[in-house]
């Protein structure tokens, strides 16, 4: 096979044109959405006007980050089957979102998941604690996205890192500030359609090289790199590590604030349910495509070329696009990957802004009494702050190894947000002190333990041996969060909260009084 020469790293006019077309169209949508974004319900929740199907697409748009596209395809390309194990972990959280969270969340909440946790507990302490869990999840997730955006653009177009970070930051601030949830939703939908469409086309032209037979693709992969690529390798060795990572991915998915927030954009619980069904279908389909793309890159591009461009293998999908689809198609996929980061960052920023304005400003600082116009204004200022923070984080963490921040974001979501949400929905005796203690324990332990884990203590700080043995702390921090929440609740009494639990049932299960 002749060696394949890539044009990655040179300015690709097709890519830049496609990306700026995407930006122009989405800014046009933002202009349209801005006229429909005056009230709080419009700003945070698109006035609950999004259909179940649309929200399903938008949820998948929010969830399919560039990391899951480029990262998982790269992992499959280099390690084969192990990449599939990793992507399965990202998917199986979705059924749990549906069974445990989506409908009660929609029925009880207004704009943020803290609405649900604080529903029958004392507002101020619970809102403050939930905001901490929420903001920590968002900030760590943002770091990974912004650094990813900068590095991606550097490799793709040869443009400076800072340029990409600032472009992403400014465009995303424009979407969210002016267009609120309505614009953000349509950005997610367009991005999801482009990403799934692009990946589908890439799989079709890749499989065309193998007579449309996946078996033939696997055959050539194993001829080239051995049968080992078709079965589990080194990804799961220590069962405790695997379980802990699994818990972070699964329960973390059910505790991501920007995902949870999307359930308030649909009119009722039935549409919330439908949106998870649609989202799970698209995300699952996408991971199957990613698996084929990874194997395609393994066979048609080869390990040497992939590793030559990026040691992490992150460029495998792009190299394959160029190899089978030519320069124009590479430009298309590269533009879509960049748009993907933009969309995910917009969702994160909106959710961070709603935490600052709805949870902290209105319900803590103003004790729940703020006028519509005032709250929208604060929400827009909060958007600017989070947007500026995202840009600063992107610039500060340039060149740093931030791969662990996604795992940390999921660990915090699984250990702080998920336990408090589930206990407040299901457990009558849950108290304010129990909730605060549970959230603080979960978030605190997740951060401290990851610093002491092999991921940071050894790989980043460079110590000999880790103090905490597991690579992801979720198993420990999530269990501790539940345990502390239960014990503290049992030792404190809050008759008000227990009484309200009964009344709340009418709303949780029947949707009576849901907003």
């Amino acid at each position: 096979m002749e060696t394949f020469q890539t044009t990655l790293g040179q300015a690709n006019p097709a890519s830049i044109a496609i990306f700026f077309t995407f930006v122009a169209i989405t800014l046009g949508i933002t202009y349209w959405a801005a006229k429909r974004t005056k009230t709080t319900s419009e700003f945070y929740a698109a006035d609950r006007s999004i259909s179940g199907f649309q929200n399903g697409l938008a949820l998948s748009g929010d969830y399919m980050s560039a990391a899951s596209f480029l990262g998982i395809a790269g992992m499959v390309a280099l390690k084969g089957y192990d990449g599939l194990i990793y992507s399965i972990g990202f998917l199986v959280g979705w059924p749990l979102v549906m069974f445990l969270i989506a409908e009660p969340l929609r029925n009880l909440g207004k704009f943020t998941f803290a609405d649900v946790v604080a529903f029958r507990l004392r507002q101020k302490p619970v809102r403050i604690a939930s905001s901490v869990g929420s903001l920590m999840t968002i900030v760590f997730y943002l770091i990974a996205q912004m650094v990813g955006a900068g590095s991606l653009v550097q490799i793709l177009f040869g443009l400076p890192y800072e340029f990409a970070v600032i472009i992403v930051g400014l465009v995303m601030i424009a979407y969210v500030t002016f267009g609120g949830m309505l614009a953000t939703t349509w950005v997610q939908i367009i991005k999801a359609v482009l990403l799934i469409g692009g990946a589908t086309f890439l799989v079709i032209i890749t499989l065309a090289q193998f007579g449309f037979s996946p078996v033939e693709l696997f055959r050539q992969a194993s001829m080239k790199y051995g049968d080992a690529v078709l079965s589990p390798g080194g990804f799961v060795t220590n069962p405790w590590d695997a379980i802990s990572l699994g818990i972070a991915l699964i329960l973390g998915t059910a505790g991501l604030p920007h995902i949870l927030m999307r359930f308030f954009t649909v009119p009722d619980a039935k549409q919330a349910r439908k949106s998870v069904f649609v989202a799970t279908g698209f995300i699952g389909y996408f991971y199957i495509l990613t698996f084929v793309i990874g194997f395609g890159a393994m066979v048609l591009v080869g390990h040497d070329t992939i590793l030559g461009v990026d040691k992490g293998g992150n460029m495998a999908a792009l190299l394959l696009s160029e190899s089978v689809g030519g320069q124009f198609f590479l430009g298309f996929i590269a533009a879509v990957a960049f748009a993907t980061i933009l969309a995910v960052v917009a969702g994160l920023t909106l959710s961070g802004a709603s935490t600052l304005s709805h949870d902290l400003y209105v319900n803590v600082f103003k004790s729940g009494h703020a006028d519509e116009a005032g709250e929208v204004r604060v929400a827009k200022i909060a958007t600017l702050c989070i947007g500026a923070l995202a840009i600063i984080l992107g610039l500060v963490f340039k060149g740093q190894n931030v791969a662990f921040t996604v795992g940390l974001a999921f660990a915090i979501a699984a250990s702080a947000n998920f336990p408090s949400l589930v206990m407040s929905i299901l457990w009558k005796k849950y108290t304010t002190k129990g909730a605060v203690a549970s959230i603080v324990t979960g978030a605190g332990l997740a951060v401290v333990l990851i610093v002491l884990s092999p991921t940071v203590w050894v790989d980043i700080i460079g110590n000999e041996a880790p103090i905490f043995p597991l690579k992801n702390p979720a198993l420990f921090s999530m269990s501790a969060s539940f345990l502390v929440g239960i014990v503290v609740s049992l030792f404190t009494r809050e008759p008000d909260a227990a009484d309200k639990f009964e009344d709340e049932k009418l709303r949780t299960y029947l949707g009576v009084g849901a907003e």
């Binding site: 599939l84 972990g89 059924p95 696997f218 055959r219 049968d227 078709l230 349910r273 199957i288 049932k505």
Partner: protein, 104 residues
């Protein structure tokens, strides 16, 4: 919707409502456990017996490939099972109970 505290109490204590809540909790917990057992079963199989998934089912095909893809499809089908149940059975009971509330 004007509804007195007594009406609320009446509905909350009615057998229909209690049965509905019990049913919902048991369906959702069962499905959750099924998903977790399948996923962690898969992960622990890999951790303790990798060879099992490396078993050949063709010259260049392992049993692990259809199983892995199968879990993705299974997770989606499970959300479909729940949606079907909720759209028909659960929503019907909800509608009936809500009718009682509005007729007061």
């Amino acid at each position: 919707m004007s509804i007195s505290q007594e009406d609320i109490k009446g509905i909350l204590e009615s057998e229909t409502f209690r049965a509905l809540v019990r049913k919902r909790v048991s369906v959702t917990l069962t499905l959750t456990i099924v998903m977790l057992v399948v996923y962690f079963g898969f992960i622990l199989t890999i951790a303790f017996n990798k060879e099992l998934l490396a078993a050949k089912i063709g010259e260049h095909m392992t049993i692990g490939l259809p199983i892995g893809i199968g879990i993705i499809v299974f997770a989606w089908l499970l959300t479909g099972v729940y949606t079907r149940w909720a759209n028909s059975s659960y929503d019907r009971s909800v509608r009936e109970l809500r009718k009682k509330i509005t007729s007061h």
